[in-house]
């Protein structure tokens, strides 16, 4: 009898414990599901941001043949975008230095984009004792022949960053964005979808003749023109000035009361466009390029719909790695590709917070 009573008590105790634990388990499961969902969202955003800007780089296993290299690099204009590229170059230089290889370089540009200035710089560089001359082509028509000349003179020439030389140019290699046209098209496609494939669109471009800007503008125009109810009403060049972009956008807004969207093809375009749209109080969808701090703030506020962020850091890092190989006489192939493509990632409002935090420490 006593054993029976003890058994009953034990059974009741187990039942009670199970009854107490069951809701906890259900609650925990629900919590775990919430947590997993949140992590998924976070990891999606984190993955997007990580793809867009990758600071984690190490030199490959290539062993330089010399212990000192001297390089000349020139780009379109003095602008924060190329400062970001410079940071990748500096990191690679430090890593080479850690390996006992000194890379000295000049990384110069005019204050305003100018193909003529770039041409003069290249010709001047040709007089110097540089192992490699690199250029972010300001104008394919002007610069590509110069590069061919330099190659013919025995200089080792490469292109990098945002713009390659013209097709058929004899430059050795290119590191940077190889898909400007696609980037422009992709941004425009996102805009069209957002607008329901209907409305008038303006396109802002940077420097007239700059291959990257022109390619993006072309890609955008082609994407928009696919849709019957969409129309590109204006195309304007801001000469890589956000102030100019602002003025142009205001003018465009004045000209078109029914403007539905703006495609911005460089870093300064979306900043100026967003300022003008905010000031007008109108609802115009903006898509644009790059990671300007102000543009990212507009993105997080929803003024800008999306931004195509290029991985400037990787461009810079890979450029210097390629420079050393070219200087050693290694030709494209197994050691490095003739064209090294770097990513462009389209980020939206949800990604803006993390991107601002990662790039600028903004919260």
């Amino acid at each position: 009898m006593r054993v029976f009573r003890m058994g009953t008590s034990l059974a009741l105790a187990i039942l009670f414990a199970l009854a107490m634990l069951t809701p906890m388990r259900i609650g925990n499961k629900a919590l775990a599901q919430d947590e997993a969902k949140r992590k998924t969202v976070q990891s999606d955003t984190a993955q997007i941001v990580q793809n867009a800007v990758d600071f984690d780089h190490a030199l490959d296993g290539y062993v330089p043949k010399k212990d000192h290299y001297n390089v000349y690099l020139t780009y379109k204009l003095v602008h924060p975008w190329w400062d970001a590229v410079a940071l990748g170059i500096e990191d690679a230089q430090r890593q080479f230095l850690d390996r006992g290889v000194t890379v000295t370089y000049e990384y110069l540009a005019p204050k305003a984009a100018s193909a003529e200035d770039q041409k003069q710089r290249l010709l001047e560089a040709a007089k110097g004792s540089y192992d490699v001359i690199g250029v972010d082509v300001a104008d394919v028509d002007v610069i590509s022949p110069i590069l061919d000349e330099l190659m013919a003179e025995g200089h080792k020439v490469m292109t990098f960053s945002s713009s390659d030389a013209a097709q058929g140019c004899k430059r050795i290699a290119y590191v940077g964005n190889t898909h400007n046209y696609e980037d422009g098209a992709q941004l425009a496609e996102a805009l069209c979808k957002k607008l329901g494939y209907r409305g008038k669109i303006a396109i802002l471009v940077g420097t007239n003749g700059a291959p990257c800007h022109e390619d993006r503008a072309r890609g955008a125009r082609d994407a928009i023109e696919k849709y019957d109810d969409m129309e590109v009403v204006e195309v304007e060049y801001d000469d890589d000035s956000s102030t100019r972009a602002y003025e142009l956008t205001r003018q465009i807004l004045d000209n078109h009361d029914d403007l539905a969207g703006i495609v911005c093809c460089n870093m300064s375009n979306p900043v100026g466009a967003a300022r003008a749209v905010v000031r007008s109080g109108r609802e115009v969808v903006i898509v644009g390029m790059d990671h300007d701090r102000e543009a990212l703030r507009y993105l997080s506020e929803g003024v800008i719909y999306c931004l195509g962020v290029q991985d400037c850091y990787s461009i810079g890092f890979d450029t210097l790695q390629t420079v050393v190989k070219i200087a050693d006489g290694v030709m494209p192939g197994k050691a490095y590709p003739e064209t090294k493509n770097e990513n462009t990632t389209i980020i939206y409002q949800d990604d803006a917070k993390l991107m601002r935090q990662v790039l600028y420490g903004d919260m």
């Binding site: 400062d83 230089q93 370089y105 990662v358 790039l359 600028y360 420490g361 919260m363």
Partner: protein, 514 residues
């Protein structure tokens, strides 16, 4: 029983009140001590923070000042040959970096071209002091952002009268990793608590990549404070930051109470902030005071317990002593009673012995003398009433003693006494001498005194004739004028002798006693 319980209750109640008062006073004193300790902690904390912030701010300012001095010295050391070519300039910069222990040293020409040890690059879009329209006229502290949100401090000074490759040099600068400075200023205490130090811009933005206590590295300090303190307090802090004034604010953040002390860093537009866990110092002071308080409490408790035990033992002891004393008193009183009873008995016996004649069993001469004063008194006050005295003397006792021994003599006396007692059975008979008896006559015997005496005389005369016991008796009555019983006795005694003489004569006639 009830008194005993009341007493015990009073004792215990008293003891408890005393203990309660002691404990209460201890707690009150303890609370006072704790408040005082807290106040002291606050003051010490404030002083400590001020001192700490001041030293750190000074350390940062000194470090920046040192870097500036090094730079200025480097410019002084710049010789024309160092500016002869790009290689010589880079070599000079390298030497300066090594000699002056500078992280990154560079010079800038009039076109904002930056010449560093390994690179020549455009600085216009990168450095605040090179921004368009800005002219460097003296020392300038600014920051420059690096990719990945990290920042470096940029310390720049103008350069005069120097040219490189036909371009005027306009400035030189160093880049310093601010995190390296701050990490040396953050103090970890032995208990794992941390006194955080950080530098912020006046808008609350973190200059460093380092967290600041519970505030994240990427959080704006002023934004983090918003909502943690009331609006007026927050505005005060914001204004202090804006105007570069030092101040203090206490706030709860992410479950911890923190005290923030901030002060401007000299020659910069930065605010150095020190964060200390509010209770770091106060807790230490409080732990000491609490320890002392706990010690005192333990002492008081032990004392109270000892007192309680002492009281208990005292009461127990008193109770035992009382019981013992009570028992003794009872025993004593019982003994006294018994002794009194025994004395009474003994007295009775003694009295009996004294009052009773051992041989004959009648009252003794002592009893007679005891009786006499009362009768004398009655005579004096006239309340005596009728009373008479019979005096008897045993004849021939000497003859019997001498002839038949004293035992026979005793028997003879006893026979004489019996004779008298048989006749005077209502009156006390006293043996007042060896062969003398006295009877005090009252009541019945007094009323029939003559008849009884006559009967006695008749029996005596017969005895006398038969040679048996002979008692000579003389009787007298109280007469007015008698002052004392002795007066009556004398008359009776005289008559007894007269009778004795008579009986002698008669005895002679009957040939003496047999």
């Amino acid at each position: 029983m009830s008194d005993k319980r009341t007493f015990l209750m009073h004792v215990f109640a008293g003891a408890l009140i005393v203990i309660a008062v002691i404990v209460g006073m201890t707690l009150w004193t303890g609370e006072g001590a704790r408040t005082a300790a807290d106040d002291a902690g606050d003051k010490v904390s404030e002083f400590y923070l001020q001192e700490l912030a001041g030293r750190r701010s000074q350390a940062v300012a000194e470090l920046i000042g040192t870097e500036f001095k090094q730079m200025e010295r480097a410019v002084d050391l710049m010789m024309p040959e160092d500016l002869a070519s790009e290689d010589s300039l880079r070599a000079f910069i390298g030497r300066v970096e090594t000699l002056c222990d500078l992280d990154l040293f560079a010079v800038v020409d009039e076109d904002d071209v930056v010449y560093a040890r390994y690179a020549t690059y455009m600085g216009g879009s990168r450095y605040e002091f090179l921004q368009e329209g800005r002219e460097l006229s003296g020392r300038l502290v600014s920051t420059t952002s690096l990719y990945g949100a990290s920042k470096q401090v940029c310390l720049a000074v103008p350069v005069y009268d120097r040219a490189f490759m036909g371009k005027k040099l306009k400035a030189c600068f160093v880049q310093v990793d601010i995190d390296d400075i701050i990490s040396t200023l953050t103090y970890n205490d032995e208990d794992g608590g941390e006194t955080s130090c950080c530098i912020y811009y006046k808008n609350g933005e973190n200059l460093t990549q380092m967290g600041f206590g519970p505030i994240g590295a990427n959080e704006n300090l002023l934004n983090a404070l918003r909502g943690q303190v009331d609006v007026s307090e927050w505005r005060r802090v914001q204004e202090s930051f804006d105007r570069g004034r030092q101040g203090e604010v206490r706030f709860a953040y992410k479950g911890a109470t923190e005290t923030l002390y901030y002060m401007p860093v000299e020659d910069t537009s930065w605010m150095l902030a020190i964060l200390i866990s509010d209770s770091l110092i106060r807790d230490q002071i409080r732990s000491v005071s609490d320890g002392m308080l706990a010690q005192s409490t333990i002492q008081i408790l032990v004392t109270s317990i000892v007192l309680l035990v002492y009281f208990g033992m005292l009461v127990f002891r008193m109770r035992r002593v009382s019981i013992t004393m009570l028992e003794k008193e009872r025993e004593q009183s019982r003994n006294v009673g018994e002794r009194a009873e025994r004395s009474e008995q003994e007295l009775g016996v003694i009295k009996e012995i004294a009052y009773r004649d051992a041989l004959t069993g009648v009252k003794s001469k002592y009893a007679y003398t005891e009786e006499e004063p009362a009768i004398d008194e009655a005579m004096r006050d006239g309340s005596i009433g009728e009373i008479g005295v019979l005096v008897c003397d045993v004849n021939n006792l000497k003859y019997v003693n001498d002839t038949y021994g004293h035992s026979a003599g005793d028997e003879y006396i006893k026979a004489a006494c019996k004779l008298v007692c048989n006749l005077y059975d209502h009156s006390p008979v006293f043996r007042i001498g060896g062969d003398e008896f006295a009877v005090i006559l009252r009541g019945e015997d007094y009323a029939h005194r003559h008849e009884i005496l006559a009967e006695l005389n008749r029996i005596v005369e017969e005895n006398n004739a038969r040679g048996e016991v002979v008692v000579a008796a003389g009787m007298a009555e109280y007469e007015p004028g008698d002052a004392r019983l002795r007066d009556v006795f004398r008359r009776a005694d005289r008559r007894m002798y007269e009778r004795k003489a008579l009986l002698k004569q008669l005895q002679g006639a009957n040939q003496g006693p047999r």
